[in-house]
Symmetry: C2
Subunit: 348 residues, 2 copies
Amino acid sequence: KENFEANCFWPFSSGSGGNPKYMATPITRNVESLAMDKNNYRARMEDFIMQLQADICTAIAEVDGKPFVADRWERESGGGGVSCVLQEGNVFEKAGVNVSVVHGTLPPAAVREMRARGHKLSDNDPLPFFAAGISSVMHPRNPHAPTVHFNYRYFEVQDLNNKENPTTWWFGGGCDLTPSYLYEEDAVHFHQTLKDACDKHDASYYPRFKKECDKYFFIKHRGEARGVGGIFFDDQDDRPREQIFEFIQSCGRSFNRSYIPILKKRKDMPFTEAEKAWQQLRRGRYVEFNLVYDRGTKFGLYTPNARIESILISLPLTARWQYMHEPKAGSREAELLQVLKHPRDWVP
Amino acid sequence: KENFEANCFWPFSSGSGGNPKYMATPITRNVESLAMDKNNYRARMEDFIMQLQADICTAIAEVDGKPFVADRWERESGGGGVSCVLQEGNVFEKAGVNVSVVHGTLPPAAVREMRARGHKLSDNDPLPFFAAGISSVMHPRNPHAPTVHFNYRYFEVQDLNNKENPTTWWFGGGCDLTPSYLYEEDAVHFHQTLKDACDKHDASYYPRFKKECDKYFFIKHRGEARGVGGIFFDDQDDRPREQIFEFIQSCGRSFNRSYIPILKKRKDMPFTEAEKAWQQLRRGRYVEFNLVYDRGTKFGLYTPNARIESILISLPLTARWQYMHEPKAGSREAELLQVLKHPRDWVP
């Protein structure tokens, strides 16, 4: 059903400065030239996320010492993607960076759900759609180094008669940090970097999207946040497309700055077996959130012929569930739970 | 919120023959005397599942060499349960046997769902309900020894004006086996034992409930069954209550016969690290099924103030997700996948 074109061990083509421009051939083979047209947001978004994938994989592989493996795949019903994975590396248990660029026809349930969220969609079904996104989860080995996640996406619902000018489009995304042990300075650095990226575009973005993040990445049945948060937003369509696209680019390009300094500081810290076991329990909570609540994961799992291995790249290599585990009062583990149960503001 | 009365390391009271009758005080403190009334199915079911829990925990602890720990808990909104866990034993990574006996008022969403399934419910809401069930998952250490699950439950929807004679009641349940390596003789023994228990009551039960089981324990996004199946049924109310209750008892009491001989045969088999890693990947699939599809788990996770640790007892101690893992053609691992993708009939 899928057409794999594995680009094992190193990116496909090189851009300027010796850095690879893309990790594999883009889904739209002539995307570079199409992206020259300022009004073609589909091509510009694909070009942007393909470049971002290469920038991030290059920077992460440099820290790890092991390269990413890139799988290029095609979707029978339209589009495809590039999944980059670094598994059992020196620094990472598992790190994945996915790009997908897909198009097709919206199922009626998706149309209802989008209308409920306030999008105005034409009554001329079937409605064609286009979606391009990048998403990533990275799980380091060292229990003092946090797991990180980000996702940026662009969505269009088109009219059968006028595919070039979608009446409805929006951007969504976010980035959040999930430590097993709390280092306040790390949380502050991470949030400050995201805030700086937001503030360049709208001073109201960071405070709103920080709150949305705490709300979204919440494991209801445990009564605790997944981690120390970050930013989260969806359905952004309240100003000219160019402005929101610029904001999305600022967010995506801030990732390496937000995460890599933390990673470098923590990756070689000494740790005990008990600390590793605690990290594995926290990995279990990560699995609970992703399989029970995460909209993207659920949407993917319920989509016929979705590429399951790319969707579940987000799951950790290993996880643990221990009946009635409770950290000792006053321990570093209890300190983390306190913060997860009572999300804090990290930057003024 | 909950009131724990941990009965650590050995059952609470002893019945005849030196076997413990219950693992802890029943939820309904005078259940033994109430159960003498043949028409009190609530008390009879509670007494039955409490005894079954003790019989099974005793037999499993004997094989493991480590006893179960029993937690008795109370539910603020009505009822409670007894959770028995054997964690990091000699034979088992994790084995849990839960009893819960709860009552309260049905939320409107549950009423709609039950009506959609064909149950006739009074319009006089709020509708009081009663539910008593036993459920268990056991994950052995040895990759050649299969994971097993069972669940038997009784449900009543009552009328506010006549709680003693519920107009609507039903039984549900099932039992299924999840090996990491296929041993045909084990699958045959397991199914034959369940078939024998079914055949005593209705020759149509086993073939119907075997098919239901293959249908229910199916990981849709992977296109594979969770394991080699067993039996599964719900909403059983098509004959006198006494007859169905007898059937439920036959099923429950057949558990030790269906599983323990397999466990004894496999628990000390030599195994390699690669076999252990394959078992861990299969554990990951188990987590996917339980968190994404299992009705009982989802119902529990979305229930406010549910006892999450009892619901998630079913998750393995450890699990693994590896990107794009695929067993070699012709391997023992590929043999299992074949059976999971094409469920077989195990007994004539």
